[in-house]
């Protein structure tokens, strides 16, 4: 019989309290309160009754529980049954706020509809100091002062000095004068005063006999309504007349259209709470798009007539817009400030800034620049002429005709042998030119369709690629796999390129092709080779594991850095083995390690393990010295022009995908450059420098690289000197077992070698610009080196490096060398692995410990045993593979 109601959706059938909990309980269950912790009166911690205390002794401080003790927090909230509000007390409220408020009140009192009433002040008043006030205060303004520069007191009744420049808002002359009158006579000469504050005075006379603020019905409004006249723009037409004519009518603009007013009170049908003064009516809104304001700037407020008209007559033509209360139009128009158009951005401007290491200016740089100028021709020298910033000190000195500095040259190079320096310079020049050439798109465009110079181009390419191609070798990179013939040609081309046969390059190209085609193909090959090179390196650089965490500014880097590699190299050159060729690192062994080897802990109270680290800025240049950043060396170019190009062309981090595009842009410039640089390269034919790259990559091509990442990581973070390792390990019982481990090590070897080759690359292609010494290192990228085939001599030479062993270098090298050194290195390598393992184990142990906390005691003991045996194993005789294989298993088991 009941009317069927619309079914309530299920989700709406539940009642929830303020915290979203279901309110299924009523009445006594909730105690009339909203239920506390999930419909209980308890808390998350449970109900903790106050402990019983004998009331005999402690009658006085017997805790009497009030109802509040049993209430929920909701009941104490704003809308609860016992609201407890936290409000700002006056102590914490801004003092200055009151003054401002007061002033606002004063002004409001004058201007408000009902003068003197400040009913809404508390509601509207600023709760905090506004930014403007804050700024003014910072500029030295104090409450009560006016705004403007400090002024000297003017003699009484004198017109304001026209010479005084008034910044900011010029005071209305009348007002400022009036306030001046009250000042006393005392006027010290050199004392300035802050300008007086100005309080706008509303001078509207009360003309009617109504009560204050009363505004009866305006018949004109009712009659005219939203007549077109209301929207008359005063400034376009005969403003004076219309404004006078309309008189009060203008005030009605923006007012309500409907008949509302206090006289009517609240209608029977009106809601009493309605703000009848703010009733929205359609007439408030413009129905037509027009000039916004009636122009009197009063927004309907009353203002003295004469004041209004005066203003209007003055500004009329000049100023269209609203003038705020208390402001008047300046009598003198300020000279319009000249507007300078923004400079035209160069077309290839990229609004991204990155830091280019500034080349250290030195005499050798000058040479370099000279060479550059030669190579790039007029353009180069032009720009150097243009910009004095591009000059270095020596250049400036030269130009100024000053005598050279007597003191020692600051460069490290000075201490090097003549030969070395020579070599370095050339290397640097060459590399610099390489980069420069990449940066010349204009020339690029010119030479793009000039197959006539394939010869040139090839050499350029060759120059450019030579070094890197050494890495590429006969890899599995087959860019023209679809066209076997072409691929074949390409391969032989690359080979020849690698061996430095400049002229024979053309032979590998298809003779049946046209010259143009041939040129194209050659370029294509170059590009492919280039691409392979760059993608090879970029990919490897892409997919390294993050060395540092992203979200920290500071990173930990080993405190002790290796000695400069080039120093070592030079030392080796001079057969000065010993101190120079060794590095000393402070290394903190793990406590357990010391125990196992029965040696006293050298740093008993150090908490760190491994190399001591120091916090450094993450993005310090120094941290990236060892990162492969082939493009940064470009920044050596101090030339402005080049830098511009640079910013456009140079991919900051070339990815595999965008390389080809970039390459297109680059190629011609590169070929251009190569032609210029070729001669140098030819001449240079440098003596062999340890070609670490070559040997490093040799085996890497065929060997698996699965573990690369992880190991590499480890490699980078721990580079303890071998000496220390020796000291620790060699004497141990390990010696014996090392032979048995050999096999397993060999299996692992490949992976490390790959890694190492990569790391060596990283070392070899550093950010060369940061220091002179660093540039030494770039020598390895020099094309000259790559021209050398791996020879027996070299092997010997590198073998001699053996003991030196800066870890990044050595491991890369030895892997390819058979012979006596191999075993030793193997061992070292293994030892390295061991330390890694040590680390790993530590981690594992930590994990274990964590787990153990969670687990019971039995398991605790067991796993303790486990871990200890693990570490024992690893440090004793377990092979690499075994342990590494073990760890995941263990992890799984847990």
């Amino acid at each position: 019989g009941e009317r069927i109601k619309k079914p309530v959706p299920l989700q709406e059938q539940t009642v929830k309290d303020a915290k979203g909990r279901y309110q299924r309980f009523h009445g006594a269950f909730t105690g009339g309160f909203s239920a506390g912790y999930f419909n209980t009166v308890g808390t998350k911690e449970g109900w903790t009754p106050s402990a019983f205390v004998s009331s005999r002794q402690k009658r006085a401080d017997r805790t009497i529980l009030g109802p509040e003790d049993f209430m929920d927090e909701e009941d104490l909230s704003e809308f609860g049954i016992a609201p407890k509000d936290i409000t700002t007390t006056d102590d914490f409220a801004s003092k200055a706020k009151d003054r401002i408020k007061e002033k606002a009140r004063q002004i409001a009192g004058v201007v408000a509809a009902i003068p003197g009433t400040t009913a809404f002040d508390d509601l509207i008043g600023p709760s905090k100091i506004t930014v403007g006030v804050e700024l003014l205060r910072k500029m030295g303004w104090k409450e009560g002062q006016g705004i403007g520069p400090r002024v000297k007191r003017k003699p009484r009744r004198q017109k304001p000095d026209p010479a005084v420049k008034v910044y900011g808002c010029a005071l209305p002359p009348g007002l400022s004068e009036g306030s001046e009158d009250e000042e006393d006579e005392y006027q010290p000469e050199n004392v300035t005063f802050a300008p007086k504050d100005v309080m706008p005075v509303d001078l509207t006379p009360k003309e009617n006999v109504h009560g204050l603020g009363y505004k009866g019905l305006d018949p004109s409004q009712a009659l005219f309504g939203v007549s077109g006249r209301e929207h008359l723009n005063l400034f376009t037409g005969g403003s004076e007349d219309t404004s006078n004519l309309l008189g009060d009518l203008r005030h009605s603009k923006g007012r309500k259209l409907g008949i509302t007013g206090q006289a009517f009170g609240v209608g029977a049908l009106e809601e009493e709470d309605d703000d009848i003064y703010a009733t929205e009516t359609l007439s408030k809104y413009d129905t037509v798009l027009k000039d916004e304001e009636p122009g009197d700037g009063l927004y309907g407020w009353t203002a003295p007539k004469q004041y209004k008209s005066k203003k209007r007559s003055e500004r009329e033509v000049k100023y269209i817009g609203k003038i705020l209360d208390g402001f008047s139009l300046a009598s003198k128009s300020s000279t319009p400030s000249k507007i300078y158009p923004p400079p035209d951005l160069p077309r290839n401007y990229r609004p991204v800034h990155y830091f280019r290491p500034v080349i250290a200016a030195g005499s050798e740089n000058y040479h370099l620049r000279k060479a550059l100028e030669e190579s790039t021709g007029k353009l180069e020298s032009d720009t150097t002429q243009q910009s004095r910033h591009a000059l270095n000190a020596s250049q400036r000195r030269e130009r100024l005709g000053e005598a050279g500095l007597k003191g020692p040259t600051p460069s490290v190079l000075e201490y090097l042998s003549e030969k070395d320096r020579e070599r370095l310079k050339e290397v640097k020049q060459a590399s610099e030119q390489q980069m420069k050439a990449k940066m010349l798109p204009q020339q690029l465009r010119n030479s793009r369709f000039q197959p006539a110079s394939p010869d040139d181009a090839s050499h350029k390419w060759q120059m450019l690629l030579g070094g890197q191609l050494a890495n590429a070798g006969s890899s599995d990179f087959k860019p023209f796999a679809r066209n076997p013939e072409k691929q074949k040609r390409y391969e032989s081309f690359v080979k020849s390129l690698k061996q430095g046969e400049k002229d024979t390059l053309e032979h590998y190209l298809d003779p049946s092709m046209t010259e143009w085609e041939r040129g194209r193909e050659q370029e294509e090959f170059f590009r492919a080779a280039m691409f392979y090179k760059s993608s090879n390196s970029t990919l490897s650089s892409r997919f390294t594991r993050a060395k540092y965490e992203d979200d920290v500014d500071k990173v930990e880097v080993p405190r002790d850095q290796e000695n400069d590699i080039d120093d070592k190299e030079t030392a080796v050159k001079m057969k000065m083995f010993g101190k120079l060729t060794r590095d000393k690192f402070e290394w903190h062994p793990e406590k357990l390690l010391c125990k196992r080897f029965n040696v006293p802990d050298p740093y008993p109270d150090s908490s760190i393990v491994g190399l001591p680290k120091v916090k450094r800025d993450k993005y310090s240049v120094f941290n990236f010295l060892t990162l492969p950043e082939p493009t940064t060396s470009v920044s050596q170019a101090t030339n402005e022009k080049i830098q511009q190009n640079n910013s456009l062309n140079k991919p900051k981090k070339p990815s595999r995908w965008d390389v080809s595009d970039k390459e297109k842009e680059k190629k011609d410039s590169i070929s251009e450059f190569i032609s210029l640089a070729r001669s140098k390269a030819d001449v240079q034919q440098q003596p062999p420098v340890p070609a670490t790259e070559e040997c490093g990559t040799g085996p890497s091509e065929t060997l698996p690289t699965e573990v690369a990442n992880e190991d590499k990581d480890q490699e980078e973070e721990s580079r303890p000197s071998m000496d220390l390792f020796k000291a620790i390990f060699v004497s141990s019982s390990d010696e014996k077992s090392s032979s048995s481990e050999e096999e397993s090590d060999e299996e692992q070897q490949p992976t490390t070698s790959v890694i190492d080759s990569e790391t060596t690359k990283q070392v070899d292609i550093p950010d060369s610009s940061s220091s002179n010494v660093q540039e030494n290192v770039t020598a390895t990228t020099d094309p000259g080196i790559s021209l050398l085939p791996t020879s027996k001599q070299e092997l010997d030479a590198t073998e001699e490096f053996g003991p030196k062993l800066p870890p990044a270098f050595s491991s890369g090298k030895f892997c390819s060398f058979p012979g006596p050194s191999r075993k030793e290195k193997h061992r070292k390598n293994r030892e390295k692995h061991k330390t890694k393992r040590e680390h790993k184990h530590k981690k594992e142990k930590k994990k274990k410990h964590k787990k153990q906390k969670n687990k019971g005691k039995h398991k605790n003991k067991k796993s303790e045993k486990d871990s200890s045996s693990d570490t024992a194993d690893s440090s004793d005789s377990l092979s690499d593979i075994d342990t590494t294989g073990l760890s995941p298993k263990e992890l799984l088991r847990r």
Partner: protein
């Protein structure tokens, strides 16, 4: 308030009793004819005692026919609890009553004087469910949000046992009529039966998937029903703890469930705004009593099992005839949800406690509001008649208990 006669007789040297229920006895029933009818089925009533029986029946009729124009007046305001009261309960004679409170205590009061006799302290949380072991009244059971139930001596205030085992708040409890068991229902979705003497758990009634909010023994004490937030009511066998029936049909949480006196019917009230009647034996659905526009918070049979009263959050109460399942009366007038409803033992009055701070007395037959018991300053959570029906107690959120004579 049993409408019936208890015959005491001696058989083989033992004193035995036999009770004859006269649930349909009315003032206008022919007493002599009734007794003749009884005699047909009852060999005990011999001709010699027939007159006596007739006299008894007539006295019963007299009592029923008494015109009750008793007006209740506030007798006392008891301000002993410092926090809202949860429940109130009389003992059978009405000489004592107990109040449970959010202040974690239960207090025993003398009805006549309004004095506090005992404070049963020991619970660590709100004392929510309280009960006398009527009809004996010598023990008190208190169920608390501290997950325990305690058994106390009425006279000494000594705690006999603390029943521990629930994992959540105890929200309902009941003695069986034989006063051998206490049943507790908890938010942990289980109900437990406890042995009063040994203080041990006898059985756990688990099977509900949500909180148990109501439970009730039948008169013989071999069945117990539990109402749960899982929208079902379960009928359990007390001896084995097996679930006999599950009464499925409600579409909302159960708020209340009760047997009628002869245990043939079960009435359940639910948040789905309906009240349902079930066959207690078979567990089949008999009827759905609709009409309320909001959740039903409480239901009860009168002592004769003829009427059903429902209290709803919509501020009204209804009286239904248990036979016809028709709504007899609507008790309208409360300004807030009604949290509790009860008949007087005689069955002609209904008392409702509401969150509008009043309790109201209604005529069960007509639905007229006879009296408004005003005075509480906050919601009233519970109310109770004494056995005689001349005293009312009300427990409120305003921390007071009021006695009305």
């Amino acid at each position: 308030f049993f409408k019936g006669i208890i015959l005491e007789y001696v058989q083989g040297g033992e004193t035995k009793t036999r009770s004859i229920d006269l649930l349909n006895l009315r003032p206008d029933t022919d007493a002599i004819a009734l007794v003749e009818e009884i005699r047909k089925g009852e060999a005990l009533i011999t001709a010699s005692c027939k007159e006596h029986v007739i006299h008894l029946v007539q006295r019963l009729q007299e009592k029923l026919g008494e015109k009750e124009d008793h007006k209740f007046h506030l007798f006392k305001v008891l301000r002993a609890h410092i926090l809202p009261l949860t429940n109130v309960a009389f003992n059978k004679s009405g000489s004592r009553f107990i109040t449970g409170s959010y202040d974690r205590t239960c207090k025993v009061w003398d009805t006549a004087s309004g004095e506090e006799l005992r404070t049963l302290e020991g619970h660590g949380n709100v004392v929510y469910a309280i009960a006398f072991n009527n009809p004996y009244g010598d023990k008190i059971a208190t169920g608390s949000f501290d997950k325990t139930c305690k058994l106390w001596s009425t006279e000494t205030g000594k705690c006999y046992h603390t029943f521990r085992g629930h994992n959540a708040e105890i929200v309902c409890l009941s003695f069986n009529l034989q006063s051998t068991l206490v049943a507790t229902g908890s938010m942990d979705t289980t109900a437990k039966l406890w042995d009063i003497e040994k203080g041990e758990e006898i059985v756990t009634l688990s099977g509900h998937s949500a909180e148990i909010i109501a439970l009730s023994f039948n008169t013989t004490g071999d069945r117990i029903i539990t109402g749960s937030f899982d929208h079902t009511v379960a009928v359990w066998d007390v001896g084995t703890g097996r679930m006999l029936h599950t009464l499925i049909g409600h579409r909302g949480e159960i708020s209340s469930a009760q047997f009628n006196w002869d245990c043939s019917l079960i009435v359940t009230g639910s948040m789905d705004k309906t009240c349902m009647l079930w066959n207690a034996m078979t567990g089949t659905h008999i009827a759905t009593l609709t009409g309320h526009s909001d959740e039903i918070l409480d239901v009860c049979f009168d002592y004769a099992g003829q009427r059903i009263a429902t209290a709803s959050a919509d501020g009204s109460a209804r009286v239904y005839n248990a036979e016809t399942k028709k709504c007899i009366a609507k008790l309208e007038g409360h300004g807030g949800e009604i949290s509790m409803v009860c008949f007087n033992p005689k069955g002609n009055r209904i008392l409702t406690a509401s969150s509008d701070k009043t309790a109201r007395l209604w005529d069960a037959a007509t639905g007229h509001c006879l009296q408004i018991l005003e005075g509480h300053t906050d919601e009233i959570f519970s109310c109770a008649f004494n056995y005689k029906g001349d005293i009312i107690i009300t427990g409120s959120k305003d921390n007071t208990c009021r006695i009305w004579h």
